[in-house]
Amino acid sequence: MTLTTEENTTDLAPVCTVRGLRVGLTHRPGVDVVDGIELALRPGEVVGLVGESGSGKTTVGTAMLGHTRTGAEIESGAVELEGNDILGLAPDEIRLLRGEEVAYMPQDPAAALNPSIRIGRQIVELLELRGIDTAEGRLARAREGLREVALPDDDEFLGRYPHQLSGGQVQRVALAMAFLPRPKVLVLDEPTTGLDVTTQTMVLETMHRLCETHGVAALYVTHDLAVIGNIADRVAVMYAGRIIELGRREQVFEAPTHPYTRALLDAIPHVSQARRLTGIPGSTPAPGRRPGGCRFHDRCAFATPACGEQEPAPVEVAPGHEVRCLRTGEIGSWDINLGRAVDREVPAEREVILSVTGLDVSYGRTQVVHDVSFDLARGECVALVGESGSGKTTISRSIGGLHRQWTGSVVFDGHELAGSARRRPVEDRKRIQYIFQNPYMSLNPRHTVGEIVRRPMELFGLAKGKKATARVEELLDAVALAPSVMSLRTDSLSGGERQRVAIARALAAQPEILVCDEITSALDVSVQGAIVELLERLRTQRGISMLFVTHNLALVRSIADRVDILQGGRLVESGPVVRVMEDPQQDYTRTLLDNTPRID
């Protein structure tokens, strides 16, 4: 899946140029959200703006329309549209440019379409307000726009409300709406986050085709390097409010020069090879907490004392490839093969600890899982993979005892497991531990980290008093957290730290099986890398078996021994990871693999 434009667009004059853009916080003078942003967009070109949460990428995106969210304001810089600075215009004049010249595609179109206006009216709203065309002409344009994004154009469809559309349809309606006034620049803010890979591919293809046909310059804002690697002509990497590396796609992916870009690339999994994923220590600092000098220096493996004092200026390392790093040229080159790992061999002898046969699961009267069978051996990691609605999480919840409406047989270490956790004996509840997707929801905000991690020990009578405190410290150390977090509540921790606490809580019960439900999908890639690193260590050192639920096939390649592919509640294909990925037997597996973004 590679969508980038073949012909060279770099010769064309930019349609939109951002110069020295700085956005600050209204109530905290001197604190910037983003600063020193320089960017040029050329007609027909897709520029990927990539960064982790807190990098300021969305702020740059909306600033292109002269807009900031409440509490922030554009302090200096220019956004030149065909030579005219739009930031110097009066609010009413900026408003007239929006939609017609610069269009915006929101992060979550499902929330961004007005729930009480029919989509036919929403699509033509702007044309109507600006008095473009006649009513019939506008309707014809709306129909054409819908056809362009491969949606029905009949009256029934135009008469629908947003809630009557599927996720992919909503996205495409938003695309059609953005393209209808024929803008010159389009800002897309993580438009495919949360979509299944097949839908994502379709939306990206549509977007790409429209940009090319209409010569629109697109700024694609995302946290997903893999997507960027497929659709962008040029890539800008942001960290803590700065663009730290900017270049053509192949320059950034093949010869990344900034230590942060390299660390990001080391953290992302590839579908074509197993990799030793690593994280970046610490977390992205928020505005106001960013260090002086190079903003990355406190997390950088190559930092020297000078990095903490001097803010690096952009250095051109190749034509069109700029990097903000003092040590450019001193830190050697980066090779993708350094992170490569050997694919796991599944041993002939497997000591099966959990065996699922003929599992049927229902919610109310709807059966969502049909006759699923698989097993898990001691010290093994089995991945359950599927798109939304595949039943992967439902299966894991049934095994974890969180959902009880299931039939079939789940044999754990020689005996049948009861339906719900409450009906299972203490031993079973202790030996199987469940870790949730969202660490913001799975830890009680009223309890301290110490209380949370200690509770399973008390409940299962494993340790108490001083001994328990010592064990909590040990466990926190095992998940790379300092003992000082013990007295903190979870609201002062970052997402990655919270997930580590959740893992420590699970380990406190001394489990034999960890059921991990999409535990990295709410986290940034650099944090995901670190969590995967941690899980791998736990598996090899403690011999814990893992049932790893995910939608990310690339991640599976790096973490699992075996994989079970699910579709619509049925098992489609299962086997050792290398075999399934290299030689898929089923069409559905092939579709998934084809649609998973590849970086190489």
Partner: protein, 346 residues
């Protein structure tokens, strides 16, 4: 891959217009019938509660006659007979409910007249009072809430909020007494403090005497409504779709009118309904304070005289108003929410 796309889409899109076996008309009638049935069930349970609270808890004869109960045996027996106190609780309830449904809710113990005759004027008077208050409350609330939302975070908004918060805490009789003190006794002598309706004349024939009771109800209700509507408006104004509308270049006026108000209307309906229902009880103290000849004042008198047939009927009417107002609000909310509306007709 194109084929997969199509099938995936087919699976995910909810077919909205596909008639699921039933025609929209039938679906709507079924839905309405269910709502009406639920309302009727609620009202029936309300009647049980009213009856139990008034007939089963204490001894009505003692309550009516007080210390005379032992001395005047004849009067006691008369009351026992009039209230059918010798029948079982069960029989008395069905007898009472039957009377209620056939429009014969019994006779007053205090003066022996039929209850229906005693209350008909009073119900009308109260309805006029509540209607007059509602006619002022609704536009005023919308207006102030919009103003406050537009001024959000500025001095004007803060001032409005402080005033509203202060007024919202005050019990209605405190508001009423302060108004009386200011406008008709201590400070000014501009308005009548009580409603004097000579010889059963309707109170609105003297509009001046209605001003204070209506004003009291408005002050008791409007601050709450405004506060809720303001926060609803702010929530809508912060939503993604309003932000997108702005980023699309839609003028602020249109954003407010077309995108924000449309989605704030349902919570608005609900809070107004809740407060109208509250008015049905709020009139009790306000009417008593202003001697307004409505059912609230009548209820207080009946309670004091332990005129149980009167109390029961008045309580039923007030509870019925609540149930009906809520039913109407529910139906309106669903009609104004596309997601709910389409869920019914498909």
């Amino acid at each position: 891959m194109a084929a997969t796309e199509a099938t995936l889409d087919a699976q995910k899109s909810a077919p909205p217009a596909a008639p699921a076996g039933r025609s929209p008309v039938a679906a709507w009638s079924l839905w309405l019938a269910r709502r009406l049935g639920l309302a009727a069930l609620t009202l029936w349970l309300v009647s049980v509660l009213v009856f139990l609270a008034t007939a089963a808890l204490g001894d009505p004869v003692r309550a009516i006659l007080g210390k005379e109960a032992e001395t005047s045996q004849g009067r006691a027996n008369q009351i026992r007979e009039q209230l059918h106190l010798d029948d079982s609780l069960w029989d008395r309830y069905w007898h009472w409910l039957g009377g209620l449904l056939t429009g014969d809710p019994g006779t007053s113990v205090a003066n022996g007249l039929p209850v229906s005759e005693l209350i008909s004027d009073r119900v009308l008077n109260s309805a006029v009072l509540v209607a007059a208050a509602a006619v002022i409350i609704i536009p005023v609330s919308f207006g102030v809430a919009l103003l406050s939302a537009r001024l959000r975070g500025r001095k004007g908004d803060t001032a409005i909020q402080v005033v509203l918060l202060t007024l919202a805490g005050l019990p209605e009789f405190i508001v009423g007494i302060v108004l009386v003190a200011v406008f008709s006794t201590v400070v000014f002598h501009a308005l009548p403090a009580v409603t004097i309706s000579a010889g059963g004349e309707a109170p609105w024939t003297q509009p001046a005497s209605m001003i204070l009771p209506v004003l009291t109800l408005v002050i008791a209700v409007a601050p709450y409504v405004i506060r809720i509507m303001r926060s609803t408006l702010l929530e809508v104004l912060d939503s993604d779709y309003v932000e997108l509308a702005r980023l699309k270049g839609v003028p602020e006026k249109v954003v407010l009118r077309r995108h924000a108000l449309r989605n704030a209307i349902v919570p608005g309906i609900q809070v107004i309904a809740l407060q109208l229902a509250w008015l049905a009880g709020g009139i009790v103290i306000v009417e008593y304070l202003f001697s307004y000849p409505g059912m609230g004042a009548s209820l207080v008198d009946s309670v004091r005289n332990s005129d149980i047939p009167m109390v029961q009927v008045l309580a039923m009417i007030i509870a019925a108003v609540y149930v009906i107002v809520n039913l109407v609000a529910d139906v309106l909310s669903i009609l104004f929410t596309p997601r709910e509306r389409t869920a019914i007709s498909s």
